[in-house]
Symmetry: C2
Subunit: 655 residues, 2 copies
């Protein structure tokens, strides 16, 4: 006999209480409050097959309120996913358990996104829904026909990114997106009314959303709300009125139940209040069976889908569309070598993208309202809009963070490769999203133009200084700064073929000469290489990136003219250089030479390659407004300023 709805929901509550108690750390309030909603969702609506967690046409579920991770772990476990096991849950929040404090997509296949930084889960849900609609438009209902469900809390709705994300979703009429808002009226500091007086439903409606309410503890009311949401042609917000920590008699409905174990006594009282008489971590067979049966709902739809795919004319295109060969752009690079051009690397990026977008159907480009400046729109793309989901270019609007999170959602969804642009300085606005690209191992490409004081007149608010270096510090993010058209193309090849992490291009506003004269191999792949080798005996190694490689070459010519041998090392990607073996690194950056870095940004960090004794030319203060050549003068980034300091250093003088 099937277990009751209440017992099924209480199984989530019990696992959450018990796991948090065992860990002596965690957040019981949200799982207990949303247990009923989650039970309705996972038992009746969510389309998934625990035996095939990566089934392409599954519904996506994102727990945007990631601190309630035990809700997700419980649901995955109860519906029959291979992970987490009950032992994993017993080791919640312990080193080595896949049941981390917050859900991490790289720990278990059932976790669609890494959440915890508030608001981003919902915003990634928007990206997933965009990817679904796009692929649906390309491949049709037979292959792509699923929904994205998000559970979000008050924090997710208060964060600024919420505004960006729902604005995009409303504009694109993403009706396959349903957000279940855990309206428990509690934040960490206490009542929501301490900090907010907003009419959230009215705000969502003003932003193009359908809104419906329900009692989040009443099965049939939840069902009715979801049914209404399913029938609307806008994205839906379902306001689930809940009691945080429901079941804990003394703590429910208060912030006390949010982020701490209930404590032994309260757990005991909660068990009594819920009528849950079973020992810790024990799920009675009838309840387990009912949950497992719910988990099997997706088996047949999955089998039907697999059959449709097998005979589908687009099968190969569907399965291989985001495969990118590492030598994708070799013919294009040959053309570049044949016709050297002096263009900004942002323009070089556009040129590469013309080739990329023609060759790779999976790319979806976009910009946060700087299309013409970021050079992200190529001739062969048209806009992805509510009327044309098959388009491959997104006008993200002035929503940098929302763009980053949407791209993360698209990349996690799969089948598409998102890239998007803004000015490098505004990486500050989207840094939380860039970090999640890296942590989630998502193939997202950030196209960041206007990458230094070289942007000129817009001044210090728009001139990145610390950004390049501080982005290099984000683990698993590849930061590229190419110096000419050839390197730019090489960067794109590498970025697109890096399937388990994001890449970020720092591109110039100003024109740069073509410096590369051969391209037998992708030299950028090694991160750094000798672009010019010393003719006279080598005393100096000049290391530069991007727009400053041109300066380094001119400095070298001046030194060579004086009989001083100097290499020019172009270093478009620090992360890739660090991955090379010690011999190669020592060959490129030798001990027995004066090392000189030239980069129009923070010098902080260059000690790694120049040694303390080396020279570092860069910009360690805020920039200024003026034509860029004047700024390069002002900050000492000219041949005339650099050469004398190198000569002085070689002569043993204090520079």
């Amino acid at each position: 006999m099937a277990a009751s709805f209440t017992d099924c929901a209480n199984a989530i509550r019990a696992l959450a209480m018990d796991a948090v108690e065992a860990a002596n750390s965690g957040h019981p309030g949200m799982p207990m409050g949303m247990a009923d909603v989650a039970t309705v969702l996972f038992q009746r609506y969510l389309k998934f097959d625990p035996a095939a967690p990566k089934w392409a046409d599954r519904d996506r579920f994102v727990l945007s309120a990631g601190h309630g991770s035990m809700l997700l772990y419980s649901a995955l476990h109860l519906t029959g996913y291979a992970q987490p096991t009950l032992d994993d849950i017993k080791r919640f929040r312990q080193v080595g358990s896949p049941c981390a404090g917050h859900p991490e997509n790289f720990e278990m296949p059932g976790i669609e996104a890494t959440t915890g930084p508030l608001g981003q889960g919902l915003a990634m849900g928007v990206g997933m829904a965009m990817a679904e609609r796009h692929l649906n438009a390309v491949f049709g209902n037979d292959l792509v026909d699923h929904r994205t469900w998000v559970i979000a809390g008050d924090g997710c709705l208060m964060e600024g990114i919420n505004h960006e994300a729902i604005g995009l979703a409303g504009h694109l009429r993403l009706d396959r997106l349903i957000v279940l808002w855990d309206d428990n009226k509690i934040t960490i500091d206490g009542s929501v009314s301490l900090s907010s007086s907003e009419d959230i439903p009215a705000r969502y409606q003003a932003t193009g959303w359908h809104v419906v309410e329900c009692d989040g503890h009443d099965e049939l009311d939840i069902v009715a709300a979801i049914e209404e949401a399913l029938s609307d042609d806008r994205p839906s917000l379902i306001r689930c009125r809940t009691i945080i920590g429901k079941g804990a008699p003394n703590k429910q409905g208060t912030s006390k139940v949010h982020g701490s174990p209930l404590g032994k006594d309260e757990v005991k009282l909660a068990r009594e209040a819920l009528g849950w008489t079973h020992p810790a971590f024990e799920i009675p067979a009838d309840i387990r069976d009912t949950w497992l049966a719910a988990g099997k709902r997706g088996k047949q739809p999955h089998a039907d889908w697999a059959k449709r795919l097998e005979t589908h004319p687009d099968r190969i295109g569907f399965e291989s569309r985001d495969d990118v060969p590492v030598d994708l752009l070799r013919p294009f690079v040959e053309q570049l070598l044949a016709n050297p051009q002096k263009v900004a690397t942002r323009k070089a990026s556009e040129m590469a993208l013309e080739a990329v977008n023609a060759l790779v159907p999976a790319t979806i480009g976009g910009s946060a309202d700087l299309t013409g400046s970021n050079n992200t729109l190529t001739k062969n793309l048209h806009a992805l809009t509510a009327a044309t989901y098959d388009g491959r270019y997104v006008y993200y609007g002035i929503r940098e963070f929302g763009m980053a999170a949407a791209m993360n959602g698209m990349a996690l969804h799969g089948g598409v490769i998102p890239y998007g642009g803004t000015f490098l300085v505004f990486s500050d606005y989207m840094r939380g999203g860039i970090r999640l690209s890296a942590l989630q191992q998502a193939r997202v490409v950030y196209v960041m133009t206007h990458d230094s004081i070289g942007l000129g007149e817009d001044g210090p608010t728009h001139q990145p200084i610390e950004h390049l270096m501080s982005l290099r510090m984000i683990p698993n993010l590849h930061v590229y700064r190419p110096c000419d058209t050839v390197e730019t193309a090489e960067c794109w090849e590498l970025a697109l073929s890096n399937t388990d992490g994001p890449s970020l291009m720092a591109l110039s506003r100003q024109n740069l000469p073509q410096l590369r004269t051969e391209a037998a191999e992708n030299r950028t792949a090694r991160g750094a290489y000798a672009l010019r080798e010393a003719e006279a005996p080598r005393k100096v190694v000049l290391i530069a990136t991007g727009s400053e490689v041109e300066i380094a070459v001119a400095v070298r010519d001046e030194l060579e003219a004086q009989g001083i041998g100097a290499d020019v090392v172009s270093m478009p990607c620090w992360e890739r250089f660090e991955m090379q073996d010690a011999d190669y690194r020592r060959d490129i950056i030798p001990r027995d030479a004066l090392k000189v870095s030239i980069e129009a940004g923070s010098t902080f960090g260059w000690e790694r390659y120049t040694d303390i004794e080396g020279l570092r030319f860069g910009v360690d203060v805020f920039g200024a407004s003026g034509p860029y050549l004047g700024l390069y003068e002002q900050y000492g980034l000219t041949v005339g300023a650099i050469v004398p300091r190198i000569l002085a250093k070689l002569n043993g003088e204090q520079a």
Copy 2:
């Protein structure tokens, strides 16, 4: 005879056209579109005295759409501010001119805030309005009774920070805040409808705002809208329907006029269309006189106010309330020395704040919904709410970026010293605001707790890795990471007495022993100092910060036990250490020793102090979820892991 309203507005249009044309760079569209609104505002409503730009009771005006800087420069010039001169305007966007591409508060006293990064100007306006209402509650109408006006564009309203800022303003019922929205329906990419379908007035109303509309080119309609806004007891959004670039016959109303010079021909046609027959940069006498007369409106109110201040019983308190002596906490530090305590530095910060808040009436604390975790609320504070503006604690809600920008606005307003907390990892969410604190030289204190993997179970989404180092790279930001209660108090002394820049505290979640045993002077003031000196002949210098200083001390004891002399250098503030003279720096970080850094974050950057040959212990990958002592084991940040590598290095082995 007074010049006509239209002529006065056209003076702004002409100056904007001419300056952008001369610079061959800039944004004519916004100043031309909002010239009429600005003329009404500056001639009739804004309370200011160009002869005393720092008059405390002036209205604040923020050009949130900072790219329209020529609007502000024109208004300041025309109303009679000493700066900018006409020559300054002629050198718009040139090196050395105070008329930078975007308005910068440090260039001219009439500029209240540095804007350009979209959305932040409006959000700073919220902070200014908060400061005004607070000081009004403390000092009364006689001394504090002014408004904050903001001009914002579609970009400012689309950015996520808009949601956070207006949510706070609506909740606090900041009726002294009026936002003039330049509703020109154009963004850089084209029509707003490319990327947004939102009903902005409805959204603002849902967030607790009053909304009124006007024809932004109709003087009387603008006046009527402002009058309605003035009479409402909520913050007001005035939707000004405008034509971007109004006056340029072929380009107005399109994105072409947003960010490029009109071009010689179109300028000529615009002059004809506007009936502006005067040569470039020439303002006829009647128009100039009318503007100057408008600028003199504030002279008498200012004089009246000065008279009231002179005889006001709170005069001294009003004028000196944010003076902070650099030895503010010496008596408190003596108490700490007398009673050593093992507490987390976040707790030590709370202890210091108890003393600070009792001594400095100007502080206004707060947290982005992590009050209990950030330890930012002290016993002597009560909440700043719509009903109690005299309160000194702000429940910012889950609005990190909004908090940063509001604090910037408060600091720029003056009379208050804001501090606010969140987790260090969420500095990513507010980085754009932190950078503007630094660029604007604003005294803001960021209280960032849970500053490493030491936070434990919450896992990698919550564990800062690259954050400390990447924040150190922001020019003019002082990043502090104290190791115990004494250093924490010292950091607070320095942060509060640093009047021309922000400070950021990185504070531990975990308890730390009190390591300082004397405090005759504020040793943190030098940035780094020898906390322990070698007893055996010095071979090693251990450099550590915050929670890792305890580990460094234990490593030292182990080395000394083996007869190896080792200093322990505590380095709570890199920026301050860099400001010391070379002798001091060389004394603390000598050449002739193995230098070893220990910090639970990126090792990238520590080469500056350890040399390449030194050892760097830290965390260069994402963290993990688990109890923190286990994580310190996992990442090799223990005495047992560190000592053998030092010994191996001293023995010349490959570590």
